[in-house]
């Protein structure tokens, strides 16, 4: 039959007509929420990365300083310390500094004083292997044994505060993300309820025609899924513009906080999560609504 071809559109018409649920308002709210979620996510990821980097030793550098110790020759201390360092996992390279290098480092403190007259400590430059976590406590204990005048400085006292601060920022940001998700869900509840109220007549007809709650919920949630996903995309697009701006202006000076393109995957998840939140919340709301209406 020729006629049958154009009887119905490729996809069946949604049973709930557009509008009535404050849809454009919800779209705006969800888009803003997604935008804020992206910014917060960027902050969380940046802070977490920073905390991680500081935890490992920001520069990947450490120094061992050896001063005179009673009864042990400086050379013996140096040799012992080097042996211990080379045997320690997490230490990539070990390089004793020459007297001139040490002197150059000390010069700001000692000025032009005659270095031969003061006991100059020996320094060993150490680079850390970023892939292995260094057990600094054990290293210190073993260094003390091999070279009583040696101290290991991995800048960790300085780093500890920064690490804690970054971790706090990261967890705070995750908390904010959860709040944003909650607020988004709440706005979907209101919109879904408003849509059902506005289309009460459709709900009634579907009910009396024998529609199960699940059928009605599917009709509604499909709409909210699309709406949430679209709003999420809009939010991410806005955040992407901001991210590019940040990368252009501040990216080089703030390596830790700058946008890392590997994080793109996380940002791509934002519209998906927005769509899923909208869908799940709408489904929940419809089920509650219908249970009361019976």
């Amino acid at each position: 039959m020729e006629l049958t071809e154009d009887i119905s559109p490729a996809r069946p018409t949604p049973l709930f007509p557009r509008g009535g649920g404050g849809e454009s308002a919800l779209f705006g709210v969800m888009a803003i929420m997604s935008f804020l979620a992206c910014l917060t996510l960027g902050l969380a990821l940046g802070a977490a990365r920073l905390a991680h980097a500081w935890e490992r030793g920001l520069s990947g550098q450490a120094t061992v300083q050896i001063v005179d110790a009673p009864n042990v020759a400086m050379e013996a201390q140096l040799a012992g310390a080097i042996a211990v360092l080379e045997a320690t996992p997490g230490i990539a390279t070990v390089r004793p500094m020459s007297a001139e290098e040490s002197a150059a480092l000390l010069k700001p403190w000692l000025g032009d004083a005659d270095l031969a007259a003061v006991p100059v400590p020996m320094l060993i430059a150490v680079t850390l292997d970023p892939a292995v976590t260094l057990d600094a406590e054990t290293l210190r204990a073993r260094l003390k044994e091999a070279a009583p005048g040696a101290t290991f400085d991995d800048h960790s006292r300085w780093n500890a505060g920064l690490t804690a601060a970054s971790a706090t920022i990261a967890w705070g940001a995750y908390g904010v993300l959860a709040l944003i998700a909650l607020a988004a869900a709440a706005s979907v509840v209101f919109a879904a309820r408003a849509a059902l109220q506005a289309h009460r007549d459709v709900v009634d007809v579907l009910h009396l025609t024998g529609a199960k709650a699940g059928f009605i919920a599917r009709e509604v949630q499909a709409r909210f899924f699309a709406l949430g996903g679209g709003a999420g995309l809009a939010g991410v697009a806005g955040a992407a513009i901001v991210a590019v701006a940040v990368a252009l202006w501040a990216g080089t000076e703030m390596p830790g906080l700058a946008v890392d393109w590997r994080d793109a995957l996380w940002f791509a998840a934002v519209p998906v999560v927005a769509a899923l939140i909208a869908m799940a919340t709408a489904r929940f709301t419809v089920s509650r609504f219908l249970a009361r209406a019976a």
Partner: protein, 224 residues
């Protein structure tokens, strides 16, 4: 297949609209529900198509006690009752075709599996040419016929119609009545509410007469 026993019905804390209503609908019967406006015809039909629950008395449908039904059992029962609402209740944003197809879509059937059924029903009510029309562009009689087509497309064993001839000219009314009689001859139990006693006299069918919330029965030619 549908039995009312001493059914009473009130809305909220209001007065009792129906009192001690008892009757039974047999399979394949044609029954008129008559009474003046405000007598409670629509209220009684709402009980039949499970839009309301009685405040007292017992209703049994297809062998099930309505009071004992769980909410999840309602859809299956409702699908066995086609309803032509007094105010049509077509979905305005859907075409005639989509409106008629609604019960099949709700039943989970695929579009290509019911296309021909829907076309056939639309042809039967004389609207085979108006598949794409939306309700806003249809006349009262056409809307009524779309509503009838939607009510019967899934071939329910019971058809309930609320004042189907109320708002249209007598000629169209007679035409619709012929559709109901034809359905009834094919085995559907038909219950028609009307304030038009003339209809009953023309068809000589069984009549449930509602007055002041109570039922008076008079036998028709086929059922007594």
């Amino acid at each position: 297949m549908i039995r009312f026993e001493n059914v009473g019905m009130r809305y909220g804390g209001g007065p009792e609209i129906l009192r001690d209503v008892s009757f039974e609908l047999e399979p394949g019967s044609l029954t008129f529900l008559t009474g003046p406006s405000g007598a409670g015809k629509t209220t009684l039909l709402k009980l039949v198509f499970l839009a309301e629950r009685p405040s007292r008395g017992a209703i049994s449908m297809f062998g099930k006690d309505v009071a004992a039904l769980r909410r999840t059992e309602l859809p299956a029962l409702r699908r066995r009752i086609g309803v032509v609402f007094q105010d049509f209740r077509l979905l305005d944003h859907l075409t005639a075709y989509e409106n008629v197809a609604l019960p099949l879509r709700i039943a989970g059937r695929a579009e290509q599996s019911y296309r021909e059924d829907v076309e056939e029903i639309l042809n039967w009510v004389g609207l085979g040419e108006r598949l794409h029309a939306r309700p806003a562009t249809l006349s009262g009689g056409e809307k009524q016929r779309i509503a009838i087509a939607r009510a019967v497309v899934a071939r329910p064993p019971v058809l309930v119609a609320d004042e189907p001839t109320g708002s249209i000219d007598p000629e169209m009314g007679a035409r619709l009545m012929r559709l109901f009689v034809e359905l009834n001859k094919l085995g559907t139990s038909v219950l028609i509410a009307t304030h038009d006693r003339g209809l009953v006299e023309t068809h000589g069918a069984r009549e449930l007469r509602l007055f002041a919330g109570r039922i008076n029965q008079t036998g028709g030619t086929r059922w007594s």
